[in-house]
């Protein structure tokens, strides 16, 4: 606990504090000391405030946080100043995290389905009944089909122990949407080029960039905390910002150059930029010479990609392309062409990401200050578990390495296998903290897969859409009420962070580690959980690493020594590619039958008169998970469809009017308000992702706004790595009265 303000506490409040803290400390196992009271603005009466350091889980950035409990009630959450990720400041979602704890729509007890799947009818049961039921079904699946027929979808650090249990049970099919629906293509593109991933948190040195190029990355709306903070620093410093986005994003409003690109044509732009940089010899010749492989073949492949060629494709005039290319070259190597994160757009995504990697290579930014730094992490030995059983079958998600460069499991591959039963049937899904109906493209396919299952278990905190289809729903404690695996961060500054409960769960919710351990015991896998309590597990790991667990509990974070992070500081200039160099030309790709240097193909065109549906983030929400959080929904409780002002005028629409979207396959969205704005091109419309909930238990969010996921009936699969590009859907606007 951190002691920040030491005002005097009167005897009354001290006595009250002792009572509260004694019980809370016992219950939650938190060690600490009270800090003094802050008088509220109106009542000058001192209150008892307790502060607990932990880390945030409203998204996957894992910012260090300090939660304050005032008179037994969760009061506020602030950034932990000791945390290098958040630097003492959270993003709005982290600050609004208290709404996750107090959400009246939360799941409260385990539930077992009583009606048809998807009818959202359950019976409340005890944990023992629920886990007994699940274990029984899992044993049956194992007996009939083998343990591999049980799949786990899990997103985020909370899934660690369930993964452990399922691996112990014998499955190999574990996937998260963060690969095939999010950053997969980028990591593949960069891996193919530099031999390493960009990672999460991204190894981007935005803070020190002199020139920052954002291709769709809508920092400021995408609130990945460190990046936004560094972006603001760069802007404040006067860095030259180039933003490429069909929508005038918040980041675009900070840019020196705003390029309103025709959606889906970014690869053409990147190729044209590289064409200019290469033909005008603006690249970092020494760097390319020293680290590059196959540069000449690459350079030769660029000849046709002139700015004049790119103009009709992208809508960006050649002068602007040249000016921005020269701008990038001017500041190299401190020019960072941001790799993006959610990059499943058009099906050419891994190749586009590779092109972005190559552009960075030309600028010499990989490994350099203001470019991509080399992250490091602390050495934290794993807990000594017994070995997992040897799998009898390979993974189902990527049969015969159809997507040769997929280095993580493909969610949609597991879904395909579930539907077809090929290469072998999948009969059970365990879903932890991922709302597959909002996260995966084509809801109908997900539902079709679910119908093939003998068991669908969903571990969630709210009655989400995916929970609505479950046979068994397990209510988890929120991140503020539980321990989790340690966060051993791979970052500029290595550190380890602890998540620990701030207060009790309000009802019969349990933490994932408890669920995973109990389930393992019911499955007869108790040997995989040699520890009794999670603290014992955590303490073991921390102590083995030579650190003090008590200190970690008190501070929330222990930092390790900083390693050199740039080549110039002595970070090793090593590349994990087959050639050991930056592969401008990729023999790997060539061997697998793909373009060894990126080649442009135009995006799929939509039906005439339809608008390409784009989507992204709003700063106050995470995906589809924060809309019943009363505090955050108070900031924004519905989305609106952004429509170009001229288009809206012609259609007789103004801001605030209600429409439905109708996609190319005739699917009709919820009612949604129009935002008529100059801030978007006329050929596309935009929605903030995650709204338009259809789960009835999400009372506060039900029916508010429109769901982008619902409109995404089509997707284009990236041939290199199986990512599902979703910006290939087109909608028209149906006026509502």
């Amino acid at each position: 606990m951190i002691n920040r303000s030491q005002a005097a506490m009167n005897t009354l409040s001290r006595r009250r504090f002792l009572k509260i803290s004694a019980s809370t400390l016992l219950a939650a196992g938190v060690v600490g000391r009270a800090t003094a009271a802050l008088a509220s603005a109106t009542t000058r009466e001192p209150k008892c405030v307790r502060e607990v350091p932990t880390f945030c889980d409203i998204c996957f950035w894992k910012c260090g946080a300090i939660a304050s409990v005032r008179d037994g009630k969760l009061w506020k959450i602030e950034g932990n100043p000791a945390d290098p990720l958040c630097r003492g400041r959270l993003c709005p979602r982290g600050t609004g995290g208290i709404g996750a704890h107090s959400d009246p729509d939360r799941l409260r007890t385990p539930l077992i389905r009583t009606n048809e799947r998807g009818e959202e009818k359950w019976q409340a049961v005890t944990w023992d009944e629920a886990l007994e039921y699940i274990a029984g079904k899992m044993q049956k699946i194992k007996a009939e089909h083998g343990p591999e027929s049980m799949a786990l979808f899990s997103h985020g650090i909370g899934g660690t122990f369930l993964k452990h249990t399922l691996k112990a049970y014998g499955t190999v099919n574990i996937a998260a949407p963060s690969f095939a629906q999010c950053r997969g293509p980028r990591d593949v593109g960069f891996r193919l080029t530099f031999g390493e991933d960009v990672g999460s948190p991204e190894r981007t040195d935005i803070e020190n960039a002199q020139c920052l190029v954002l291709i769709g990355s809508h920092l400021g709306e995408n609130m990945h905390n460190t990046q936004v903070q560094e972006f603001a620093t760069a802007v404040g410093r006067g860095a030259s910002v180039i933003v490429v986005d069909p929508r005038f994003s918040v980041a675009a409003s900070k840019a020196k150059f705003y390029l309103p690109i025709k959606p889906g044509t970014d690869l053409a732009l990147v190729l044209a930029w590289m064409n200019v940089i290469v033909t005008e010899k603006l690249y970092d010749a020494a760097y390319v010479e020293e680290h590059g492989f196959g540069f000449d073949q690459f350079a030769a492949s660029l000849t046709g990609y002139t700015p004049e060629w790119a103009y009709p494709e992208t809508g960006i005039d050649p002068d602007t392309i040249r000016a921005t290319a020269r701008e990038m070259a001017r500041y190299r190597p401190a020019t960072l062409v941001h790799p993006g994160r959610h990059v499943n757009w058009n099906g050419d995504d891994a190749q586009r990401s590779r092109a972005i990697a190559l552009l960075n290579a030309l600028l010499g930014s990989w490994g350099r200050k203001g470019g991509f730094y080399t992250p490091s992490s602390m050495d934290m030995p794993d807990y000594p578990y017994p070995p997992y059983p040897k799998p009898a079958k390979p993974k189902v998600d990527n049969p015969d390495h159809k997507y040769p460069f997929a280095h993580e499991a493909i969610t949609t591959g597991i879904r395909d296998a579930t539907i077809t039963g090929q290469p072998y049937p999948i009969k059970g899904w365990m879903v932890y903290a991922t709302n597959l109906l909002h996260a995966l493209p084509n809801e109908a396919e997900t539902i079709r897969a679910i119908q093939q299952l003998d068991l669908l278990v969903v571990v969630d905190v709210i009655p989400s859409e995916i929970a609505g289809w479950a046979d068994v729903v397990l209510p988890e404690s929120t991140y503020l009420e539980r321990h989790d695996e340690l966060n051993v961060e791979l970052f500029k500054d290595p550190f380890v962070a602890l998540r620990q409960p701030v207060l009790d769960s309000p009802d019969d919710q349990k933490p994932n580690w408890w669920i995973a351990k109990k389930l393992a015991e019911k499955l007869g896998l108790g040997a995989f959980y040699p520890w009794k309590t999670i603290e014992e597990y955590l303490e073991h790991r921390v102590t083995e690493a030579g650190l003090d667990f008590a200190e970690l509990k008190k501070k929330g974070i222990i930092r390790g020594p900083r390693q050199p992070i740039y080549f110039e500081e002595g970070a090793p200039a090593e590349f994990g590619t087959p050639s050991g160099k930056i592969e401008f030309y990729s023999p790997q790709l060539e061997k697998a039958g793909f373009d060894p240097v990126p080649r442009y193909t135009p995006p799929v065109a939509g039906p005439p008169g339809a608008f390409r549906l784009l989507f992204g983030r709003a700063p106050v929400h995470s995906f589809s998970r924060t809309h019943t959080n009363r505090l955050l929904s108070d900031m924004m409780d519905e989305n609106a469809v952004w429509v170009n002002a001229d288009i809206a005028r012609r259609a007789g629409l103004k801001s605030g009017d209600t429409v439905r979207l109708k996609n190319q396959d005739g699917v009709l969205s919820n009612r949604v308000k129009v935002k008529a704005t100059e801030r978007i091109r006329p050929d596309c419309v935009y929605l903030v992702h995650g709204f338009g909930h259809t789960a009835r238990g999400m009372r506060h969010a039900y029916g508010k706004g429109a769901s982008d996921a619902q409109m995404i009936t089509r997707y284009k699969t990236d041939p290199l790595m199986g990512g599902t590009a979703m910006n290939v859907n087109f909608v028209t606007l149906e006026a509502e009265t």
Binding site: S40, E78, L90, Q229, F231, A232, V250, N644, A645, P682
Partner: protein, 177 residues
């Protein structure tokens, strides 16, 4: 002493963290705002400019809300901070009608509420909640009369504006441009 807020619109991304933080710090009820974000977009696609502002009570030097308050509930506190004493407020709403910035509202408990510049924190040597959470560090708070203060330095070195100066209220939240 003259407390002011200086907000750098170049850095502000309109994330509303300041709004959320104000809500938790000050128990602002659901559905009410002491601070909020305004986006001002000018131009025609694709040549656009956008200013994003975190707005709140401007703690005016000539506050009509104070002048029209029949009970003295609205008053000017030390440092130029405009406050409302809840126990004096009758809820006549004259001050609401008087404020050109629509910065006030009727709290569900009946009295008038608005931004206090987090005076309870400031008096403890802390920054206002919104200022202290802002992830882009675009908000600054301090004493304008202290020439060494960050706010004074920012205002003397950078172009800035305040909201609706033509109302004559002399607002004391400044926006760097």
């Amino acid at each position: 002493m003259r407390y002011v807020m200086v907000i750098d619109t170049k850095r502000c991304v309109g994330c509303m963290d300041c709004v959320v933080a104000c809500k938790t710090e000050n128990n602002v009820p659901e559905g009410y705002n002491r601070d909020w974000i305004t986006e001002e977009v000018r131009g025609k696609n694709p040549t656009l400019q956008m200013e994003i502002r975190s707005e709140r009570c401007n703690h005016c030097d000539r506050p009509p809300c104070v002048y029209c308050c029949p009970t003295g509930a609205s008053h000017i506190h030390e440092g130029g901070v405009v406050l409302v004493t809840h126990e004096k407020c009758i809820g006549c709403k004259a001050c609401i009608a008087a404020c050109p910035y629509d910065a006030r509202f009727v709290h569900p408990e009946g009295y008038i509420d608005k931004c206090t510049f987090c005076i309870h924190r400031v008096e403890q040597g802390l920054k206002p909640a919104c200022v202290s959470v802002c992830p882009t560090h675009c908000m600054h708070f301090g004493d304008l009369e202290d020439p060494q203060s960050e706010v004074a330095r920012l205002l003397s070195s950078r172009a800035h504006h305040s909201l609706l100066p033509q109302t004559g209220c002399q607002p004391h939240v400044f926006y760097l441009t």
